[in-house]
């Protein structure tokens, strides 16, 4: 069996937990993604930003994992955001209507700036 390659890094920027996703998001990524989400929700985080700048591939199972994250985020009253999507994956977010539930920004800086503006 080929092991899909995915790396996750979690950091906090004020009230935002940032998950940087690198590589391939498939069914094999479930445990790591859920753990990263739990880690990102620790502390004062009320927003979770998924940074897809280093994403190589996401398949239908990966889309399913994002829906699962969204359900968990809503239960925990945490708002999910995304940035760094390529044009192709931005289109997939629109087709699946994930973009209606997850606010999409071009860059991490744009996402954080939007939060600061809304807090001001």
């Amino acid at each position: 069996m080929n092991t899909p390659i995915m790396l996750l890094k979690v950091r906090h920027a004020g009230s935002v937990g940032v998950i940087v996703i690198s590589g391939e998001v498939t069914a094999a990524a479930e445990r790591e993604l859920m753990e990263a989400f739990a880690q990102a929700c620790e502390g004062p985080s009320v927003h979770i930003l998924l940074n897809f700048e280093k994403l190589h591939f996401i398949n239908s199972s990966g889309i399913g994992l994002l829906v699962t994250l969204l359900i968990r985020a809503r239960r925990q009253q945490v708002r999910l955001m995304a940035c760094g999507l390529s044009q192709h994956y931005r289109q997939i977010f629109e087709l699946t209507r994930l973009n209606e539930a997850i606010a999409v920004f071009n860059t991490e800086m744009d996402a954080l700036a939007a939060l600061h503006l809304s807090a001001a």
Binding site: N2, S61, L95
Partner: protein, 163 residues
């Protein structure tokens, strides 16, 4: 009086036939192998990305629902090209009715718990390919994916009527 001209469909040239064991992870290996075969034809980046997604999904469906992840029962992939189209056939031992019966995904139903979070495969294939046809040929279930494309690198004389 107008004369009806015969329509000549461009002949398809077979570029390769691949065989991949039905094991998770191989869907992306297969899709990347197909794109590697098509690399000399310099297809648009956007078309290549749509192809990668659709071929990987169709191969995953074939491995999972068609061949039930039986590694000894490989998925066969045939790649053909003409001056105007790329056709990829993904072949497995599945049941056409079972695959066609899948409920279309709805994000609101999924968020409300009325549908599983999964089940986006066929939806993605339908949106990423220009045409999709599913049919049986003997004991094989075939998913035929078609993309319109223009490749300056493709031998334009192939399949055309001589002038």
């Amino acid at each position: 009086m107008a004369t009806l001209q015969p329509i000549h469909e461009p002949k398809m040239q077979t570029l390769c036939e691949l065989e991949v064991p039905s094991q998770p992870g191989n869907e992306l290996v297969a899709a990347r192998a197909v794109l590697q075969v098509l690399k000399p034809y310099d297809l648009q980046q956007e078309t290549q990305e749509r192809m990668l997604t659709a071929i990987a999904e169709a191969t995953m469906n074939a491995m999972e629902h068609g061949n039930l992840f039986c590694a000894e029962d490989p998925v066969l992939i045939e790649v053909q090209m003409s001056a105007t189209h790329v056709v990829v056939r993904v072949k497995d031992h599945g049941n056409i009715e079972k695959i066609e019966a899948a409920e279309p995904p709805d994000i609101e139903a999924k968020l409300a718990g009325r549908q599983s979070p999964r089940g986006w495969g066929m939806f993605l294939i339908r949106h990423m390919a220009d045409e999709i046809v599913s049919y049986m040929e003997g004991d094989r279930h075939i998913t035929k994916l078609v993309w319109k494309c223009e490749s300056r690198q493709f031998d334009e004389g192939y399949g055309k009527e001589p002038e």
